[in-house]
Subunit: 351 residues, 2 copies
Amino acid sequence: MRAAIYGGPGDIAIEEVPKPTLETPTGAIIRVTHTAVCGSDLWFYRGDSDRETGSRVGHEPMGIVEETGEQVTSVEPGDRVFAPFVISCGRCEFCRRGLHTSCANGDSWGGDNGGAQGEHVRVPEADGTLVRVPDRYADDEDTLRSILPLTDVMGTGHHAAVSAGVGPGDSCVVIGDGAVGLCGVLAARRLGARRIVAVGHHDDRLAIATEFGATATVSERGDAALDRVRELTDGGVDHVMECVGAASAMEMAIELCRPGGTVGYVGVPHGVDEAGLDVFSLFSDNITLQGGVAPVRAYAEELLADVLGGTLDPSPIFTKTVDLAGVPEGYRAMDEREAIKVLVRIDGHSE
Amino acid sequence: MRAAIYGGPGDIAIEEVPKPTLETPTGAIIRVTHTAVCGSDLWFYRGDSDRETGSRVGHEPMGIVEETGEQVTSVEPGDRVFAPFVISCGRCEFCRRGLHTSCANGDSWGGDNGGAQGEHVRVPEADGTLVRVPDRYADDEDTLRSILPLTDVMGTGHHAAVSAGVGPGDSCVVIGDGAVGLCGVLAARRLGARRIVAVGHHDDRLAIATEFGATATVSERGDAALDRVRELTDGGVDHVMECVGAASAMEMAIELCRPGGTVGYVGVPHGVDEAGLDVFSLFSDNITLQGGVAPVRAYAEELLADVLGGTLDPSPIFTKTVDLAGVPEGYRAMDEREAIKVLVRIDGHSE
């Protein structure tokens, strides 16, 4: 089989690799049909984080079940499924409380399981990880395109909104106009927010934020951005969603959060180690810091129901589509910000 | 009138100062009868934080109303009252949501209002700040001694428990065996916690923790403390109360918090700037950081009811009593850890 392989910063290549095999009675083999390139893939691509060279990449798989272990009960060969960016058992305490990212038996894509940017993956815990798409939608390309973000960014944006405590009638600020930030806007609207201010740096992305439900957008930077948001929100909001994962964005989030409010964050907080977190502002204003790596498996069913019902559609974040051979080009396009998020049709054609 | 004055690190003296005067129709003048020395007073006493030399000190006043402004409706001259460590209006949005520490019209003790370690204070917002003690208890010395911690440490310990989400049947860890940590144990028990592990370094204080409801105490340090708490709690708890206000204590709190749990913190996080907060552990385990400077005014009524009802008594934290002239000795005793917390009988005698 063929798969995308990490060769070092800036180097993604499609190579022939061994196909994963079923090794546990709880596992399944998936033929990947759709996947995506993630903003977090750019960290190793840019050399900002370490990754073993020669490793398989991609963590947002959707495809067709090819083979299942004898203990698997929730899916069978031929089913259309998707899976979150972490593998979870579904049985342990943390999975049962909806925190699949802390699964006691958790595993990750890449390595022997294969990466989602490849023709096949093995999921060692099929029942706890895979989400089945009802047959009537299983081959509907438009619907699949809308479902695919539930593997990561839509669930992550939703986690930001949930962590920030966004509810009906609330005013909130979403920091970041990447795929997660845009999905965060969708999530905030879906949860009933009345006022949603999206903060970003790119007019084309902020246009999607508006399409997704942002009631105002702010493209200024630094203090000018703070001033503009405060002007729009009468001084700040009780619910801030930090969807960037950078020290400066976290700092802005805390600045814009009113006393007693909550900052919901879902981006790995890069640079916070060096810059330091403004704990004194959190302390003096009793601002809660809530969130973390998103347990998107916990949100899959409710979000899928809305996608299938036609009331939730994150697919506009896919502004470019490639085939497997086009994955390196997909990384380049995202790295150079030509594309917001790249959809990969493993068995399809680049567009 | 006489009042304690800060002369620089290690220097507290009793001096003759002007008596505060009533300047607003919403204010009151209180003749202070009881107050205390706070662990946070030691920061400037030890030179760890800046404070203007010549300033009046003390922020935990209890006394008798001497004079009220014409708009004051909740108290009248002769009433027994106490007040939290911040002054709040009771009318603004933040007071109404129980976040009096972020009061839009807030003020502080010291300066022209006078410090609580003095014979008189002015409270510019009497209705929003003062809590009246029912007449039948107004001169009951034992009861007053049990009420006095509601000005600060009992409300702060309660805020730690509330912020950590402690509820009936929960297991929690309380880090710190100072007055706040001990009050945190009381608060956790009051909220129904089933298992309360108190972590500290002093056997005499941990004995009070046991008296207050701790089901286990841990006096080891560093990794040995972590191991012992994990052993006692099957690996950690979902509710950790950080009652020290130091980087090392915050680090321990995060280490002992299980995935998806909450660290409730109420200590000013000293040293976190240098040591850095372990945001990556918070992130990967979805640990919520909640708390801050305690809005003790918001908790005064419910805690007072329990003190008066006989089910809550934080007074054992007062292990030494001084009169106004004895305040410098009180600072020394707390600085040298001879006393947990020092009660000051302004018009009384040192014991």
